[in-house]
Every structure is written in structure tokens, then in C-alpha cells.
Assembly symmetry: C2
Homo-oligomer: 566 residues x 2
């Protein structure tokens, strides 16, 4: 191995500083230089919405270590023996000469720097819709500290009464919450027919219902046609159908693209997603150049396909791998992602790991079986909060392909459990007796995760015939008239009910009152309750009484995403 | 398969009702009878401490479904078509004749009942220390609703000013919290030198420090010699060393034993732990008799050894397996446990999964490597709370053998992640790039779980030389004088410090002030900070400067279980 005497890192947000720090820990003698275009280093960009909303009031918290030390060039020099140059844009890379060219954005000074190993961590750039008016004052993204400072000023000086958030993805909904908490009237406009595209429609709709309940105006399936202005300042947004929404603020969050232009110009191979192509050592097509973070493309470990996965945690993990390999030799590997993600929006959390049903279909994984369940994250007597989960398993092997979870309950733990189950290659059969930490302050005796595995096992072994709320709604919209059987108690029915032509027969009375049901034993019956545990018992009881076409509406009323009578 | 026409279940707490319900769902025609000695059915026994403390005020919540229906014989009959007979003690089982004999504890009436399949779920019985006075009024366990009602009356009527909890296990510490919250002065007495024997000493001591900070008197390594009384009522407890503790209440929680006497008398095979021996179908030595819950013995999946594992979640999971197999044929399996457990005690949680270092040693697994780490459960700017973890991995394969975690942070999620990692057979190498759900309200960008895997990887690859706080303390007690190097900042040092003869050199100044350290490059130096991340950086910096014997104190001050100067 040739001795590495200088490692240059391009980019100082997440992956870059992590790579530099790891390289220093691996290699105590090499010179390590970070070239960072922005004025700040190692910004906690995932925390931006929480400063905009006022959850955090100290701006420096976004830029400092846990003990309050600002991660500035002095910190990098003294604590880590790393030279960090801010306001320094790399303008060119010459792989042949092992040289980068840079320009100081404050002084205009230019220069070059030799490297033995280079690490590219240029991150991502926010997409902008190709419509007029994006340059108006009041139109912004939430990508940089400059954006953050602008939005925080809007909050503090109460500069905006109305805002439009363009894009209903993860950043969009977090921004929506932040603005709403800042007292701003918010409309969120999303091109596709749902928020949070990493979820399947039914679960996304539950989140949307919650967001609406907080006074946010949600418009899905609608295109922004342009931004309207007066004297250079934003006055409104027009939609594809001509609707105009008045607003003084618009935050664009329609996704990001890998910032791979510098790498492309240097002749490095770019992948199909537009991200820099790397091998599992995070080495680019030039063996002396590594890349990490939002600028690269990686592999979805379930489908085997290349993906752009701009997640903050992966950027850090990749930085660690690239830094280690650049500083010594290729030892550490980053194999890919199962695209685990989560967000909080008001009192709900929404998370996903592995494949959604839609992404499985898109990837040609048709031999999969979906299931929706609902339940509490703790026992009822400990004030358990609701969780709604959608699980996807391979029909043949039972292997877990993906899981999504939304609700006011502890979604983070559920998704973490599913993520580890997927990474361990576990199947439904492995999970039905999972040994998880149980005590009443933490979970029900049988955790919602395990209950979900139980129901999936029942479904795979044909003891449980489920139907999704979406499929029920489609049946009704087509004019089909199955017997809709609500098996909750009368007082529950009085408090809340679907109002879709259902019959109420409480489970306790079912064996006695079954004669009220149609005599035709082939008539389709769809039973449900609050979460469909009793709905399942009812279906079994009816089957025992001879009915042959009984289904259970999965997740019951908790997972019903449409409007309810009550 | 012979048709099953009657299934009898002995026991109506957790495993029994679960087995009966599952049997019903599998088999719609068989008669299913639960014979339950207690007056109640399906009691949420893990919730008892929360009713005693007043966290729950409605007693019926411990006995009812999520929708408030009491799980009484009427409920079992109407909702589940199961006959449940309460106050009915099974006095004898005749496997040869397929008959159980019972006695009604209220009426004295006796009778017999034939079965095709029998499921024994007789639970556990609390151990009582073999000392005088256990029959005094005021001495109780926390095992039955009768105990619960007694303790709740003590709380409500302010009948006790002082209490002793005998036993510092899971139930002991939960009871201790419950009594303290009820305004009672509590002393907890534990035979072995630590609370919570499922933890290793260093982590248990952190919990003990927290329990003490709540005003509880903790006495470890001490035997209860007897209970003192006056006129049949408890007045105090004497310890092995003669100490007398005045109290009007004593709760004994020194563990439980499998209640396997009925099975033993029926000639069924009893295992080495005293639990009923079962195969992986939970079938006893008689093929028509199954057993589940606290009365059986199961297998530790890591050591392969038989264990008694009386956990509420496992009882439910085993009930499901036994119920299914008894109702049709042997299809479902219960392979064993990794002994995952957790409890909350005041503002701390403490959990464990897999093996502790001590249990690994006991089981002859000597080729394992332990590590202690500390960190936040969320980013500092989101008010992250501390977690202290002890991880055990196989030295050769890196496979995770066990993990423990304590602290005010989200211990439940950490233990759940480790439990799934162990069940997936994952190694440290698999976990360093784990793809977990990250957003600031849920975790730091690199979750504490992954950071722990990173440090373990560094330790296994000899980039990190750790030493536990316990080993440091032993060194000092032996009179060794290593250089103890605290690398935090001065203001942190002013607020809290160990006071063990340490030198303060903040990490930022270390490269400059290293000359203040001993010239002897073989002198032992032990560096640390709040959690020892900076301690690790310091060790690397010193190694680069030529020192050859530098160790990092694992977990830093956060994991220091001994008294501190400040």
C-alpha cells in the first residue's frame, strides 16, 4: 500500500466530516483537508425544521457538538487535527494529476491542492419545479442554513400569514408542521395522489387525515403551475387546474438530486440514478477517489437495484466507510440500504423499511402478500396509543419484504424491529415467537409487531381471509353489496361508525343473532371491529356456522382511511 | 388424527386463556374448558405494580379487554365459546384415564372431567424465604389479585409508613417504585451484591444509584433472617447481620418457581429446573398433555441449556403454540428464549437480551468480548436522554451474544433492536451499517445501537483498547497509579468530576499539552470524557504521539458506578 500523505474531502455537511474524522482515527499522520462551500460545517440539517418551528431556540445547537462546542475550523483543527476550509468551493477535479481546484467564495482567491486520496461528499441539490416565479422573494427551499435563517426570521417577525409547501414528502410534511407551529396558515400541494410516497396509499391517507385535523389544507394530485408575484415578492401559487392560492411564503420540497456534477466533469462514472457510481468500498471509477452521502447511488438490498437514498444516517455510515478505506486500504464495506425512513408530523409518526406494496410491484416482486393490522403500542391500562402497520412478506418463503407503520403510537420501535428483522433475513415463521422486551410501560404482552406476524401467519396459512379497506371501498363504489358486519359493542357504535350500510351485531351476540344474516351461505360477509381482532373471531364463528365467504376487513376502523359517518 | 372433542385447560391466567382462545380459533367444534383456581381470569399480572402505585386507578382495567369488557366466564362463553370455571382447583390428573379431578373452592363440590387433550398452565408460585414470621399480617407477595387488593388498601388507607421489599429483582424494583409513589418509606433488601441479577454488576449499580436518588434505602448482599411481629402483625425485619428494620409492610419478591406439582403427581416428566419438561411442540412426556407458561422449562437458544423463563410475553406465545397443537396436530413450535426482559424503575429503564458477561462465563462461553458504551437516545438539540449499554460479542465470529441497557433514555427500543439482531444471528460486522429509522425526534443520525457496534468493531480490530470502570476502580484499590486523563472541557469538569486523582487536559489542548504527561511512553494512561468518545480521540492522539499503553475508560463518566467527588 502506497503511503497516504494527504486526504482531501470535498464537502463539509454530513458524510464529509464523518469521513475526515474516521480517516484521522485510522491514519494519524496523513494531512486531512475538508473543502466546504458553505460557511458552516457539519450542520444538523435534519434538525432544520425544529429550529424553524421553535422547538429548538438556539441556532448554535444545529452547529455544535453535544457539549456545545461549535464545529468550526478551530474545532476540527484542535480536536481532530483536521484542516477545514469553509466558503471554499471546489471547481474542478483532475483525477490524472491528483489535483483539485478551488475558489474562496468570500475573497475570490483560487488555488489548487494535491491529494493522494480524494473523498467526494457534495451532497444533494433541491429540485425546483420548472415553472415561472421560483426566483420571487418568499420562495425558498429548506436545504441550507441560509434557508433556515430566512424561515426562522419569517417565524420570529411574523412576516407570513399564509404559506404553501410544495411537495408532500418527508421534508414537506416536517416543514408543514414547523410552519403550522409557527402560527402560519399552511397549504400543502403534492403532485401525486398522496403524501409521503414511501408509504402505500392507505397508510399515507391516515397521515393526511391527521395533518388535516391540525388545520392544514392538503391538496394532493395537483401540479404547481407557477408562483405569482408583485414587485418581486411572492403573492400566491397557481395550480395546474387554475386555482390560485394566496400566500406570502412558499417552501419548495419536491425532493433532491445527487449533486454529482463535479464528479461527472472529472470523468467519473455516474450511475443510472444520477448519483456517483461506487463499489462496495465506496470507491468511484477512479481508485483514488471515494464518494459518500447524498451524491452517490447505492443498492437496494432487497431488489438488488441501484437507488438514490439521500438519508442522513446513511450519509454518516458511508462517510465512515469511505474515510476508513481512503485512509488505509479497502477493508470496510457498505453493501446498501433497505431504505428505512421515519418522520414525525404533529402527533403522528410515519415510518417505513424495505418495500411498500407499490414498490414491490414496480420491482416485479409479485409473489408477495400484504397485510394491514392495527393495535396499541402498550396495554390499554397503560394508555397505549394506536399503531397501524402494513406488512409485506414473500408468499413462498414468508421472508419479510417490508413494513410501514403510522399513528400516534411508538412507530420508531416498530420500524426498528422490522428493519432488524429484514436485515436478519427473518421470516414470518421466525417472528411469531420473537423474544422482545416486555413490561407494561413498554409494550403489550404480545407486541404489535408479533401480533402482526401472527395475523400474517394466519393469512398465509389461509386461516384468516383479509380484505383491505381500500378493496372494500372499491367494492362499494362498484355497487357491490356485501354484508358489512360491525361486531363491536353498541356503545362503541354510538361513538364512532363508518356509516357504509353496516349491520351491528356485537361479537358476544353473534352466535345467537347469526340467524339475522342472509340464509345464503355463499353471500359475501365482511366483518370488522375497532382493529379487527374481534372481526377475526366473528369470521371464524360464522365459518363454523356454515358461511363460506367471510372476510375480515384488515385493521378495522382504525385503518379506515375514508370519511366516516361518525 | 383422532378427532379432538374436548380440550381442558388447567389455569386461567396468561398461557391458559391464550391457549384456549387459540384452540377455539383452530378448532370450532371441540368443547373447550378452562379450570381456574382463582376467582379471576386472564389477569394482567404484569400490571399489578401500576395499580398498587396509583398509576392505574380502575381495578377492572387489570381484568378487562381493551374495550372495557371484563374477561369473566360470561365473556369467554359469549365472545369465544369457551367454558371457564373459576374458583375451581384441579386436584389430580390421570393421564391413563384422560381425566382431571377438581374441587370448587367456594362450594367444596368435587368432580371429574374427561379430556382428549389437556393443557397445563398452572403458572408459578412465589418463593418464600425459609425464615420465621412469613405468616404475620403485613407480609405479602405481589402475585395474586388478593395481594394486589391488600397492597392497594395499604396505599389508599395510608396504612403503612414504612415497608421492606425483600428481593431486588424485576418485581422487587417495580414494587419498590409502586410503594414509594404511594408515599411509603421503602427499604429494599437483596441477598446478592446487586439489584436486577439479569444485569452485570456495573449496570445494576447505575440503576441502584438512581433508585437511591429517589429516597429508597437499598441494602444488597444481605439476607433476611426473619420477620418480627407483635400480636400477629409485622413490626420489622431482621437481617443476617442482626440489623433490625422497623416496618409495617413487607413485600416478598425473591423469585418464583414453576408450579409443576400437579404435573409431577400425574407422572409427567419434570425438567432439571423444576419446570415441566416439554418438546418444541410444548407437548409433555404424555402426548395428549401440553404445557405452557411459567410452569414449564424451556431452552436458552444461545447456550442450548434448559432454563425456567417466567416472562409474561413468553407465556402468551407458548399458550398460542400449545393451544394450536392441542386443537389439531403438532404444527406450531416454540423453540426457546433469549431471555429478553425489561423493567421501568422511576425515571430509569433497565433491559437485557441474550447473555450477560456473568451468565456467559457461567455457561462456559469464555471466548466473548464485552464493551460498555454511553450516549444519547436522540440528538442533543432534541433533548436526548442518556443510555448506557453493555454489549457482549463472540470474539471469533463477532456474533452478538447479549446486550444490556440502562438509563433515562429509550431503553426499550435499544433492547428490541439487540433482541432482533440476536434472533437474526447477526454479527458486529452486520450491524455497523444497520439501516434504522432516523429522524431527530427518534434517534441521533447514528443510533446509539450502531455507535456501540462501531466501538465494538474498533475494539475487536484492536483500534480501541478499552477498560471498564470496574477494572479501573480495582486498579486504584490495588494501589496502581495509572495516569487518569479527563479530556473534557474545564466547565464540564467544574460541574461534575470523579475525583480519583485525574488530570484534566481538554481534548482541544491535548496535542499541545501532551508534554505535561509522563515522559515514559510505557506508562499506563487511561483517558475518558463524559461518554468516552472524546476519550477515544484522545487515546488515538496520544498513540500517534508515541505513548504505547493508552486505554479508554468505557462509557466514561456516564458509566462510572462508584461515588464521584462532584
Amino acid at each position: 500500500m502506497r503511503d497516504v500523505s494527504r486526504i482531501v474531502v470535498v464537502g463539509g455537511s454530513a458524510a464529509g466530516p464523518k469521513a475526515a474524522a474516521k480517516a484521522r482515527r485510522i491514519n494519524s499522520h496523513a494531512e486531512i483537508v475538508i473543502l466546504q462551500k458553505d460557511p458552516d460545517l457539519s450542520m444538523a440539517s435534519c434538525g432544520y425544521p425544529y429550529y424553524v418551528s421553535g422547538v429548538i431556540d438556539d441556532r448554535n445547537l444545529l452547529l455544535s457538538t453535544g457539549t456545545g462546542v461549535t464545529r468550526d475550523p478551530r474545532y476540527y483543527r484542535e480536536a481532530k487535527a483536521i484542516e477545514a476550509r469553509t466558503n471554499t468551493e471546489v471547481t474542478d477535479i483532475s483525477p490524472a494529476r491528483h489535483v483539485v481546484s478551488y475558489r474562496n467564495l468570500l475573497t475570490g482567491e483560487t488555488g489548487t491542492l494535491n491529494y493522494d486520496k480524494l473523498i467526494i461528499a457534495t451532497g444533494s441539490i433541491p429540485r425546483m419545479p420548472p415553472v415561472p416565479g421560483t426566483d420571487l422573494r418568499g420562495v425558498t427551499t429548506l436545504q441550507s442554513m441560509k434557508d433556515v435563517d430566512f424561515l426562522r426570521r419569517v417565524r420570529d417577525e411574523r412576516k407570513a400569514g399564509k404559506a404553501v409547501v410544495v411537495g408532500g414528502g418527508l421534508i414537506g410534511v416536517e416543514t408543514c408542521e414547523a410552519l403550522r407551529l409557527a402560527g402560519i396558515e399552511v397549504t400543502i400541494v403534492e403532485l401525486v395522489p398522496q403524501l409521503l410516497a414511501f408509504l402505500d396509499w392507505e397508510l399515507a391517507k391516515l397521515v393526511e387525515n391527521h395533518v388535516r385535523s391540525k388545520g392544514v389544507n392538503v391538496i394532493t394530485g395537483s401540479r404547481v403551475a407557477g408562483f405569482l408575484g408583485d414587485n418581486g415578492a411572492l403573492t400566491g401559487v397557481t395550480l395546474g387546474d387554475g386555482t390560485e392560492i394566496l400566500c406570502e411564503l412558499a417552501v419548495v420540497a419536491v425532493g433532491v438530486e445527487p449533486n454529482s456534477e463535479l464528479a461527472r466533469r472529472a470523468g467519473l462514472e455516474i450511475g443510472v440514478t444520477g448519483g456517483i457510481a461506487v463499489n462496495e468500498y465506496l470507491q468511484t471509477s477512479d481508485p483514488d477517489i471515494y464518494a459518500a452521502g447524498d451524491c452517490i447511488e447505492t443498492v437496494n438490498l432487497i431488489t438488488g437495484k441501484k437507488v438514490h437514498a439521500p438519508y442522513g444516517d446513511l450519509a454518516n455510515l458511508q462517510g465512515r466507510v469511505a474515510g476508513r478505506n481512503a485512509a488505509s486500504e479497502n477493508r470496510a464495506v457498505f453493501k446498501g440500504t433497505i431504505q428505512t425512513g421515519i418522520c414525525k408530523v404533529f402527533d403522528f409518526s410515519a415510518g417505513s423499511t424495505g418495500l411498500s406494496e407499490r414498490s414491490a410491484e414496480k420491482n416485479g416482486l409479485v409473489d408477495s402478500i400484504p397485510l394491514i393490522t392495527a393495535g396499541g403500542d402498550k396495554p390499554g391500562y397503560m394508555n397505549g396509543q394506536l399503531l397501524v402497520t402494513k406488512l409485506l412478506a414473500d408468499r413462498t418463503t414468508g421472508r419479510i419484504l417490508g413494513a410501514q407503520c403510522v399513528g400516534p403510537g411508538n412507530v420508531g420501535k416498530q420500524i426498528a424491529q422490522w428493519a432488524m428483522a429484514i436485515q436478519g433475513g427473518l421470516s414470518v415463521e421466525d417472528l411469531v415467537n420473537a423474544d422482545l422486551p416486555y413490561a407494561p410501560p413498554f409494550s403489550p404482552a404480545i407486541d404489535h409487531f408479533i401480533t402482526t406476524a401472527h395475523v400474517m401467519q394466519n393469512k398465509m396459512e389461509n386461516r384468516f381471509t383479509g380484505i383491505s379497506s381500500l378493496a372494500v371501498k372499491e367494492k362499494l363504489d362498484r355497487g357491490e353489496r356485501p354484508v358489512l358486519l360491525d361486531v363491536r359493542d353498541l356503545d362503541e357504535f354510538k361513538t364512532t361508525r363508518l356509516g357504509i350500510g353496516e349491520t351491528l351485531i356485537p361479537l358476544d351476540d353473534l352466535r345467537e343473532k347469526a340467524k339475522e344474516l342472509p340464509e345464503d351461505k355463499d353471500k359475501e360477509i365482511i366483518s370488522y371491529c375497532a382493529v379487527s381482532m374481534r372481526g377475526y373471531e366473528a369470521a371464524l364463528a360464522l365459518a363454523a356456522l356454515g358461511w363460506r365467504n367471510v372476510k375480515v376487513m384488515e385493521g378495522g376502523i382504525a385503518a379506515w382511511p375514508f370519511s366516516k359517518e361518525k
